[in-house]
């Protein structure tokens, strides 16, 4: 029966057989994609689904056959009724061969296996074999394919080609030309995606090497994506270089919190120390990329100065139960005269609990200052907080003037207690002298700030990589992040702290329950599932 609303019926499809498995793919797909659809992996270096086809590494060679045509232009059928296949005498590169109707592909024939072995042998003749000092070791396609498809032995007795090593292509990328296999992924990325055409191949034959055009540098804000793209260890991140071997890194799905796009990332951490951020593919948000600025904005998480203990300034006590009791006292004492300064760094769940807190203690104002900066037309947004949409959705007033608003309310004497979560009131434009006159300042934060210095109660919170929650990005896509490790010292997740402030049942907090409660009470989130949110997020409407 025809499906009238099926979107796929609009696209022309072709049927082919990959290693005996029949698949139907949209017209225009190449054989690597078709094989993936059939459940097979075709080894490849230069092909990348988001870049133009280079077709130069020859790793993806496969055997291709087409139905043999009779004189009547009809396929010749075998005795069993299946069409007879005429195999092309030469292997074809899968990345530049489009899937065709009736095509047959062999991925594991003797010829294909020998092609792969020989291609690897050629790629390795000038390779320096310095895996022990190469940062890519452990996630290197050259290592992986050499192991899976290679010959295992070198027959090369001649002198190896010497090329430049440890070349600084720009402030963030270091190149080792000896390791490069000249796949040109980096060149194509700069040209096609970053639109900053600075890389090229110089010289000829086995003397070819990658470099920047004379007088240019690889310094655009997307330069580190070339490091991810490089299938070998030729391009390495100067920041991550020699920091940690990749096999020690625990990988956690998270989000970049440096702007409103909320690029999907993988956090690489070991024993509570973040070593790197890497983009995680999400076509609806960031494709395979992220900006360098967001990628390198992790050092504050490892900072020595992170707040690790609660503090009651008056008594100097550093016990959680006492600090929480003092915070509750201050809120009860100033009921009806509370101001809340939230942040676009807070998760939706935290903002939801903050909203509840505001209702419980009769908050006068609920504000969140804007943080703005330059954007671009690829990924970077001008809004530098990951959850400003969440802030607005939860009924907080966001903008540049929140400092003035708060100062006003304070001047009128409407506010006697301030709850500042991940924001500094002084930085938002409130006069420090006026703040000092407040009855109580409760600061939930991760790093010291003027407000934290002044706060009567300091409650150390968690960075986004240390907790779970959701952000709504500028496209109104609700995305979830996961904890890589626990907050440092005695610091707790902000959600736990906020859960303690009104009632104080010190039961371990169930994130899913808070999320479901939030969904129940927020019309935009009606009936959102928690688990499926894990991977790509969902768009919400309001």
């Amino acid at each position: 029966m025809a499906d009238p609303v099926s979107k796929t019926s609009a696209v022309e499809r072709v049927n082919l057989t990959v290693d005996g498995r029949a698949v139907s793919v949209p017209k225009g797909w190449n054989l690597i994609q078709a094989a993936r659809k059939a459940g097979f992996h075709v080894p490849h270096y230069c092909y990348h689904e988001k870049l133009s086809v280079g077709g130069n590494c020859r790793m993806c060679l496969v055997e291709v056959g087409l139905p043999r045509m009779g004189p009547d232009r009809k396929p010749v059928l075998k005795a069993d009724g299946t069409p007879e296949i005429g195999w092309l005498p030469r292997p074809q590169i899968g990345c530049a061969t489009q899937a065709g109707e009736g095509m047959s592909v062999r991925l594991n024939s003797q010829l294909v296996k020998e092609c792969r072995r020989s291609v690897l042998e050629f790629l390795l003749i000038n390779h320096p074999l310095d895996c022990p000092i190469c940062d890519q070791a452990g996630e290197c396609k050259l290592q992986e394919y050499a192991f899976q498809y290679g010959g295992g032995e070198s027959r090369f007795v001649e002198e190896k080609e010497r090329k430049p090593k440890k070349v600084e292509l720009g402030p963030r990328v270091t190149l080792d030309d000896e390791r490069c296999i000249l796949c040109t992924r980096c060149v194509r990325f700069c040209r096609e995606i970053a639109r900053d055409d600075v890389l090229g191949i110089f010289n000829r034959g086995s003397h070819s090497y990658i470099s920047c055009y004379p007088g240019r540098k690889l310094e655009n804000n997307y330069s580190l994506n070339t490091v991810d793209l490089c299938p070998v260890g030729a391009l390495t991140s100067t920041d991550f270089r020699f920091k940690m071997r990749v096999w020690f890194l625990k990988e956690t799905s998270s989000l970049c919190a440096s702007c409103a796009r909320g690029c999907n990332i993988t956090v690489g951490s070991r024993e509570g120390v973040v070593h790197r951020f890497k983009p995680r593919c999400n076509d609806a948000v960031n494709s395979h990329w992220m900006c360098d600025e967001g990628r390198l904005n992790y050092k504050w998480i490892n900072d020595e100065r992170r707040l690790k203990k609660p503090l009651i300034r008056a008594s100097g006590s550093a016990k959680w139960d006492e600090a929480l009791a003092a915070a509750r006292d201050a809120l009860v004492r100033n009921r009806g005269r509370v101001a809340i300064l939230a942040s676009g760094q807070c998760s939706c769940e935290e903002l939801f609990l903050l909203k509840k807190l505001a209702e419980t203690y009769g908050a006068v104002v609920k504000l969140a200052p804007a943080h703005e900066g330059p954007g671009d037309n690829l990924l970077v947004e001008t809004d530098k907080t990951p959850n400003m949409n969440g802030v607005r959705l939860m009924g907080f007033e966001a903008g540049r003037e929140v400092g003035a608003k708060l100062s006003d309310a304070m001047a009128k004497g409407e506010v006697a207690a301030l709850v500042a979560v991940r924001e500094c009131a002084v930085a938002a434009g409130v006069d420090a002298g006026a703040l000092k006159k407040m009855d109580a300042i409760l600061a939930i934060d991760v790093l010291p700030s003027p407000t934290v210095e002044m706060a009567s109660v300091v409650l150390p919170g968690a960075a986004h990589v240390e907790k779970t929650g959701t952000f709504i990005n500028f496209q109104r896509r609700l995305q979830r992040f996961h904890p890589a490790f626990a907050p440092p010292g005695e610091a707790r997740t902000d959600l736990w702290i906020l859960g303690q402030l009104p009632g104080g049942d010190s039961k371990p907090l169930d994130y899913e329950k808070v999320f479901n409660r939030m969904c129940g009470e927020t019309p935009a989130f009606q009936a959102l599932p928690w688990e499926p949110l894990t991977e790509k997020g969902v768009e919400v409407e309001w």
């Binding site: 074999l129 022990p132 090593k165 440890k166 020699f242 071997r245 020690f248």
Partner: protein
């Protein structure tokens, strides 16, 4: 099925005990005098003044070695840290300073610690090392006044390891 073993029938001499006691005493006294007069090789050692020489292939404490030019062979690849079953090894890598004699090797351990209270002398680290930089050497007896003392740092490991000529010379023409 039970198997019943009959008791041996003792002769009169055996039943008297005395001959057996005397012959036992004689054996002991003989050994006493043979050892006292040094008539035969002794099997015991005057430990701790004398120590047992390690047999060939003995796996003692893991150590770091230098090559014949005094270059630290370890390049901080951290494979030993990965393979070590009790997680006794901790390597902190760093880039070699640009002016260094071996700058072309690019990488070295800034710190290298082996916790000898954890090490089980399995030799995996020696086996996995692609640079032939870590060897289990003869030192088998380790004592210390504190736990900290038994965590060998890089200096200690290099001192214990000494040097071993390099057969491969893989960094020579880098």
């Amino acid at each position: 099925m039970a198997i019943i073993t009959p008791r041996p029938q003792l002769t009169l001499a055996e039943r008297l005990y005395l001959p057996a006691i005397v012959s036992g005493m004689w054996l002991t006294i003989r050994h006493f005098f043979v050892n006292l007069l040094g008539l035969k090789k002794k099997f015991t050692l005057e430990y701790p003044d004398e120590k047992c020489p390690p047999p060939p292939g003995c796996r003692g404490a893991p150590t770091l070695v230098r090559d014949e030019d005094g270059r630290e062979k370890c390049v901080a690849c951290q494979l030993c840290e990965f393979v070590c079953p009790p997680r006794a090894i901790r390597v902190t890598p760093e880039a070699l300073p640009p002016g260094s004699r071996h700058a072309k090797i690019e990488k070295r351990p800034a710190a290298f610690e082996i916790n000898m209270l954890r090490c089980i002398y399995c030799g995996f680290c020696q086996e996995v090392c692609p640079e032939e930089a870590i060897f289990l050497r003869e030192k088998t007896i380790l004592t210390g006044a504190s736990r900290r003392e038994l965590v060998h740092d890089k200096q200690r490991l290099l001192a214990l390891g000494g040097s071993r000529p390099d057969s491969v010379k893989k960094w020579k023409d880098k």
